[in-house]
């Protein structure tokens, strides 16, 4: 379903002016805190009112300042999963789940109670009260509650932020499940690029209340000029690759992409599936000749296409592996010592173990 968003809103001294559109299952809004991510969700949900703009979900216009359309929040049918769940404390889990469903016109109830309860493993929680749930359980109930209102679009505002590391993995798993099985489009706000790569196909990068870039995740991730917005530590190119072999003997999987093959450990996917692999720039090294006698499994012959211009001890180098971009972050010292320059042929090396679970997204 196509989502078209164009918003202008002044909140105190902060001005939000953001326009983007997309039609993948999950669109991620990424940016530092205070960049306006949550405000965008509140505007789309109808909890805040834009000064000017247009919000279209599929065929339905929810807001259009030009023609005076402003569907009230309770009629928008947009599910909202808040950061801290916001379950209704005086109702049981079951009543929370059915709350939104009650207000949905019967003809528009596409979400089936039993199926959602099963999808999110909610059956054991139904009779409990929200204060008796753990953080992860609360978040699952919040997702189920939003889904059972049969929304046209699901908004998720950093649903993992209030959870510990092990619970995060659990909720991510459920989000993937509902992306793949329920088919409701999701607008997902995050400040963890790992989450974004794992879940989303489309990335909207926000900075100071404006859209810095919007497009397919793998495209934006390999652009040097966007590196400072994504975060230099976690950032890196995203390669879309297809599983061609699962070597059960050594725990490695072989993934094919346009530039060659990538060996990745502990991949939980079937042969033929397409994965997104984020290769952190800091995990990529550059050599002038083909490396021999090293433990590195992933070596690619490539050509330098761009060298970052920012000052400091490190530089970003963008290389091109037969059409697939890869980013490497190396010291300026090395870059000068090796006389790296655009057009030069080099070898890029990636340690397989650096491609961990948080680097692989299943789409």
């Amino acid at each position: 379903m196509r989502i078209e968003i164009d918003l202008e809103k002044t909140l105190g001294a902060f001005t939000l002016k953001a326009a983007f559109s997309g039609d993948t299952a999950i669109i991620a809004l990424f940016g530092r805190s205070g960049c306006g991510k949550s405000s965008i969700l509140n505007l789309v949900a109808g909890l805040l009112r834009p000064q000017r703009g247009r919000i279209v979900i599929g065929e339905r216009v929810l807001f259009d300042s030009a023609s005076g359309i402003d569907v009230p929040a309770e009629k928008r049918r947009i599910g909202y999963v808040f950061q801290d769940g916001l379950l209704l404390p005086h109702l049981s889990v079951r009543q929370n789940l059915l709350y939104g469903r009650f207000f949905t016109p019967p003809a528009e109830r596409w979400a089936d109670v039993d199926r959602i309860v099963e999808l999110l493993d909610l059956a054991p929680l139904l009779e409990r009260r929200p204060h008796r749930l753990s953080g992860g359980e609360k978040q699952r109930v919040a997702i189920g509650r939003a889904l059972l209102a049969s929304p046209r679009l699901l908004l998720m505002d950093e649903p993992l932020a209030s959870l510990d590391a092990s619970r995060r993995g659990e909720i991510l798993f459920y989000v993937e499940r509902l992306r793949d099985e329920v088919g409701v489009p999701i607008l997902y706000v995050s400040h963890e690029i790992g989450e974004v790569v794992r879940l989303a196909g489309h990335l909207v990068l926000l900075s100071d209340g404006a859209v810095a870039a919007s497009g397919p995740v793998h495209e934006l991730m390999s652009r040097i000029e966007l590196r400072h917005l994504i975060g230099r530590y976690e950032g890196g190119a995203v390669i879309e690759a297809k599983v061609v072999a699962q070597d059960l003997g050594n725990g490695l999987a072989r993934l094919a992409f346009s530039g060659g093959e990538l060996l990745v450990p502990d991949v939980d996917a079937l042969i033929g599936e397409t994965l997104r692999v984020r290769v952190r720039a800091r995990d990529v090294s550059i050599a002038l000749s083909e490396p021999r006698d090293v433990s590195l499994l992933n070596c690619f012959r490539c050509r330098i296409s761009e060298i970052g211009a920012e000052p400091g001890a490190s530089v970003d180098v963008r290389v091109d592996i037969a059409g697939t971009p890869l980013l490497a972050r190396i010291t300026r010292h090395s870059a000068e010592r090796l006389h790296l320059a655009p057009g030069k042929e080099v070898w890029a090396m990636v340690k397989a173990v650096s491609l961990d679970r948080h680097s692989v997204g299943y789409s």
């Binding site: 949900a45 309770e74 009629k75 947009i78």
Partner: protein
């Protein structure tokens, strides 16, 4: 001294309970509405409205009673209109006692409900809106249940105030046995006649028991309502 209650005592007790109950129930919608207005909206004259609501708390009750007599007496502007239009008479009736009690209890009720309303996480209402709840559905399913402890506390305070109300009642509707003579008025009457000490004491003890029972009951109700909302730990 502790033999069973006389018919006159039962009458005073029954009247006290009736007046208190009706005054609380009748003033609850107004009390909630005022608390809602004060808790949720900014408007010109808000401070004045707040002060007016609190007047019965600080004015001598006799003054309130006298104002009621002037306004709601059979020849008063409001009283005359109410009698003409609805046949509703307050002056020297138990309904007038209930009106006086309601007015005296209103500031306590509004304060308790307002505090409770202000403590509700407004984002819960936002969540309800995204789930499709309109204004009234939200009020019934979120706001009122969540401020139930405040509503109960407010009702109790107003009820207790009604049981003890004396000055405004006696000024407005006088001291008519069986019609407006509630417990405090009956006690007062007994203290004014020679040899009425024992009967006054009996009614005083009755008052104490009644007030204690109301307190205990409401405390239990509030605790239960709170437990529903925030859980046993609190």
């Amino acid at each position: 001294m502790f033999d069973s209650l006389s018919p006159a005592e039962i009458e005073a007790l029954r009247l006290s309970l009736k007046v208190a109950a009706i005054s609380v129930l009748a003033s609850l919608p107004l009390g909630f509405g005022l608390a809602w207005l004060l808790a949720r909206f900014e408007f010109p004259g808000k401070a004045l409205l707040d002060a007016l609501i609190h007047l019965p708390l600080v004015l001598p009750p006799v003054v309130i009673g006298y104002f009621l007599l002037v306004l709601f007496g059979r020849r008063g502007p409001i009283g005359a209109w109410l009698e003409e239009t609805f046949g509703l008479v307050f002056a020297f009736r138990w309904t007038g006692a209930a009106l006086a009690c309601a007015l005296m209890g209103l500031p306590l009720m509004v304060r308790a409900i307002r505090q409770s309303l202000e403590s509700i996480d407004r984002r819960l209402e936002s969540a309800a809106a995204t789930l499709g709840a309109g204004r009234w559905a939200m009020l019934a399913s979120i706001t009122i249940p969540l401020c139930l402890p405040g509503i109960l506390t407010g009702m109790l305070l107003s009820f207790a105030r009604s049981l003890g109300e004396f000055g405004a009642t006696i000024t407005f509707v006088s001291n008519i046995p069986g019609e407006t003579q509630t417990l405090p008025l009956a006690i007062y009457t007994f203290t004014q006649v020679p040899g009425g000490d024992t009967q006054a004491m009996r009614l005083c003890i009755l008052s104490v028991i009644l007030s204690l029972a109301a307190l205990v009951l409401s405390e239990a109700l509030v605790r239960r309502a709170n437990r529903r909302i925030v859980g046993d730990a609190h």
